[in-house]
Symmetry: D2
Amino acid sequence: MMVTTAGEQKSVAVLGASGYGGVEFLRLVAGHPNLEVAYCGGHTSAGERLGDLYPHLPAPLGDTVLGGLDVEAAAEAADILVFCLPHAAGTDMIAQAYDLGKMVVDFSADYRLKNVEDYEAYYSVTHTHPELLQTAVYGLPELHRAEIAATRFIAVPGCYPTSVILGFAPAVKSGIIDTGLLIADSKSGVSGAGRGATLTTHFSEVTESFSAYKVASHRHTPEMDQELGGLAAGDSALQVTFVPHLVPQIRGILSTCYGVLKSDMSVADVHEVYSEFYADEPFVNVHPLGKLPATKYVTGTNRCDIGVAVDPRTRRLVAVAVIDNLTKGLAGAAVQCINLACGWAETTGLPTIPCWP
Amino acid sequence: MMVTTAGEQKSVAVLGASGYGGVEFLRLVAGHPNLEVAYCGGHTSAGERLGDLYPHLPAPLGDTVLGGLDVEAAAEAADILVFCLPHAAGTDMIAQAYDLGKMVVDFSADYRLKNVEDYEAYYSVTHTHPELLQTAVYGLPELHRAEIAATRFIAVPGCYPTSVILGFAPAVKSGIIDTGLLIADSKSGVSGAGRGATLTTHFSEVTESFSAYKVASHRHTPEMDQELGGLAAGDSALQVTFVPHLVPQIRGILSTCYGVLKSDMSVADVHEVYSEFYADEPFVNVHPLGKLPATKYVTGTNRCDIGVAVDPRTRRLVAVAVIDNLTKGLAGAAVQCINLACGWAETTGLPTIPCWP
Amino acid sequence: MMVTTAGEQKSVAVLGASGYGGVEFLRLVAGHPNLEVAYCGGHTSAGERLGDLYPHLPAPLGDTVLGGLDVEAAAEAADILVFCLPHAAGTDMIAQAYDLGKMVVDFSADYRLKNVEDYEAYYSVTHTHPELLQTAVYGLPELHRAEIAATRFIAVPGCYPTSVILGFAPAVKSGIIDTGLLIADSKSGVSGAGRGATLTTHFSEVTESFSAYKVASHRHTPEMDQELGGLAAGDSALQVTFVPHLVPQIRGILSTCYGVLKSDMSVADVHEVYSEFYADEPFVNVHPLGKLPATKYVTGTNRCDIGVAVDPRTRRLVAVAVIDNLTKGLAGAAVQCINLACGWAETTGLPTIPCWP
Amino acid sequence: MMVTTAGEQKSVAVLGASGYGGVEFLRLVAGHPNLEVAYCGGHTSAGERLGDLYPHLPAPLGDTVLGGLDVEAAAEAADILVFCLPHAAGTDMIAQAYDLGKMVVDFSADYRLKNVEDYEAYYSVTHTHPELLQTAVYGLPELHRAEIAATRFIAVPGCYPTSVILGFAPAVKSGIIDTGLLIADSKSGVSGAGRGATLTTHFSEVTESFSAYKVASHRHTPEMDQELGGLAAGDSALQVTFVPHLVPQIRGILSTCYGVLKSDMSVADVHEVYSEFYADEPFVNVHPLGKLPATKYVTGTNRCDIGVAVDPRTRRLVAVAVIDNLTKGLAGAAVQCINLACGWAETTGLPTIPCWP
């Protein structure tokens, strides 16, 4: 039984609709009682039918013809403008949309980092609108719910950071671990690399293989430092060692988060810290003591499932957090934030039960 | 934007809730505005929490404790009794439920075949309620919509037959192919074999492998003969050569259906026959001329996508039909039939857009 | 225990070494006691280290630097020139190498078809050396062993045709089936599409999906007609309906071959026809009555495994043939032919036992 | 070109031939010029044809009929007895075979640990032959080459420990990292779980999923402590935090090994430490500076490929080591040790080039 909230309708424009993030967002909008698509735009895909780009999309959605990356047209057509573009590609358009008074949702990294130096160092580009960095809200409701509810400018978090921040947050906030020794060993499905066809996304090269990449140099690292550092009450020195890996599966991220407990704590004690921290969260699911989640538990849903363990020999905390990188890690988080910013029930239109198997 | 029909609520009891068919049905019910789960029962799983059997199921569904395979308790609790049991295991229970005046939906083969000899020959068991075979309606709305709307006893078709019958139906009904030379070469994902752990479902044995099995002897064959024979206007001699194969993927069936055209027809002519036949069907999607569907187009949805081609050299018709074996091939078909039998919009609560990728 | 034949050494030059066919050939040469690599050449890859293109290749092979597609340099360096180039790209080079008196092995379709019209129609290109079409030998030892042993110009068969021809050959040659009604429903792993990065080879698009393509129009069709037509004693009208499919696995082809038996035969009779036909073949393995092979049985080996079944209701013969598309379907066949043409034991250096699982 | 050493023949008996370890060993023996199989034995599989258990095995190997787990018969037939049995199942048989004067190779954990308390604590069983623990040699040639060459009792290391020990060894031995803070985050393909059919190895449950298990409690942990502790010159306190994960692929282990550098070192410095340590190793391949290996690079081979990185912000060393869990992680290591113990070239009969793709 699904209960739907009645209520107002808002329309969305999706700029960059032809990528995996855009298509996942369209799927969620199709199941959302308060949202409807008013405009789809693309760059190289302008003028094409969605159904030709994505033949799995039936009519009428498949019959939508993409317009250009035209902010004015999008703003004319829609209440909410969602930008699903690579970093730097949409920086100016987003500022323009915000100036037009629209609600703006950005899937890229452009407005996530408060410190413009971090952005420019990690992304090797000059930020053209640094004045908006303090305006945009980091769209992780579990840490910034009130700010999201009060904004019309949402920077959707990166997929890896979502899993790592949620995996460490209770331990960092409660002060039970040494913030100087955080390691996040993350594993992501191939969809995180997008729809571009390269050797890295080539079936025959990736299948039956597992690899690490961008060790300690991935662009998602400063988001983890910023958000966990914020939780650690001004511990600006907090720096996560972050190592991403590629898993031969389509969707899903699992982050294994390692910390050193400051004092002897049982796994039951740690489990209680986590359970309390997330007690009221509609999408974070702390598994029972002794149980750990798999990525498949959350495929296609907006959930983040977490399990905790302790190595008493080395006083090591191990938290395992899983998300679907395209849902809770991207388009689902966007919908969750839109729900909050529009004053709707936070869970509206967001799946929590995956297909199984 | 999702539009939901307001209206009455009905409750369902799921007997055999711990198999893949049952769990898929529970997923669909969770998204259905008019249905709610009132009872879950199992055999060996009686007494267990659903969330222990399927840790991907969050509360409150995961907290459901299974009862036994108790028809009286189920009938007391629910309006509709859904049986997700192996063939022969539920024959008597289903008859009992029908006698109690309940709406009955059977996932097994027990009440699909009108000819009891076929059932007993293919399933090597004596049917204990042959008197009900003419009462049950074969739950393929595309062929039996009116009967389904008027019944309270639905035999859900087999997964392979759904794809093969829908793949051949326009050609057989219109008489453009020789009914004496039908070949269905079908390929199914591993979920069709259920949750039982055997070498046939063992990851390391199945991955990176493709195989044929039960060549020309699979139990789903007589369903194809019955339904396509019915379409062929009394061609009781129609016999499909059916060869199933196992694909290393979880969900999805693709059936390649071969027939010999009686006269020279272009592929455009054939395409028109198919397009017209399915013009009003909400879940059958004939792809544009020259396009063929892939199984992934319909994963998790209730759709059947079809493409057609012709080999002019050999006057051969080739129709390609894809379904999700657990949705349109099982639990989704059940919901579609329940919608019809309850007088609701046929599409209520049934997904048509898959996760992509 | 591996027994190796002592004997002469021959050197090979590999033109087009950077594709999957070339790399598979290099793997086999590395395990061959009589062959060594003297030259590797490529087009866009000229000047690169093999180990940079394929980091799985250890030194010393990985340290090989590719030269250009230089026939003279290759002919200077090596006894045997192996061309692993796309069709039409090497037509002239191959003729040049043959004129230089070298043994020539061609992986492409350029010299497979005896009828130049077929080649030009299916490949949409004018053949620049049609005078050599009768000189080249179709490199399928099971049909042309004596010719291969006497030639120095080998056209390696296509991967699909190898499986389909071997699947039908005993039935066609013995005349037990109607040659007018042959259907080959083939399924191939993704490696058949090569290393080019496209949506067709994109992990996230292909995984968990199964599809048909190029129905009744694939370029491998005329090879099947030519070779099976030849077996059928001048039945120039023999035309196979050929439908290829894409399986979400890396290697392997399974072809399900359908024919109509001219008279009532038991599966045991058919099995005997196949067993006798292949009794002396070192790489063709007819499975016991009632058993069918899976593609995984032959991964990385030069085997072709075959199983047969009969649908007595429709008098249909169903033969299932599996190969590794890159080994018996390409590079392994090349080595098998080289062994024959060099007078070595036919099985020299060719694996028959796959990794399992 | 493959060069084979001429020389003496030895025969092997394989006890427990029907598991994945046994079958991988048989594959390697089939390609080994000095070894031949004289006896295969099994427990529940006694009396069966190997080809019925593993239909991918062609004759003559497939025609082998398994005997029982009969040490006397095996010792009568063969020079070398290889035990591929679960821990504790073969403890006594192994002792018996050793007493008979045979060369003994054990795939299980029974004789790996020098400290019987560790074995009994981690495996929950009383060791019946603790007096042999100091006799058996831990079969990791990279650390114990001379001992292996001088023994006839080899305890083959666990698959995870092989990757973790080789990943940490240069850093621990050279003293550049703090031995108090070692973390091994390992990922293994499903074949590590063996051929037993359970939900953990069920295709539909495992595919498209990634999970952690036995966090900080896996039985392979004390092997890592023992061997790395030994390298650390008597640092008996060395304790690795070990977290294994399950990857949806068949073969391959990747271990991400985290240590804290005692002083500021560049990645080039660390790379030199690793390169020198493994300079003469025939199977360990340190990748060039800036490159990291994937599991697929070593599938089916006896190689261990290693890459290193440094996070200068946190002074963290990250070493990534990959092996094939069934080859270098089990059966290949056994052959490597047998080669050494027999005085043959260490690389005899061991593949180093995988199938690609």
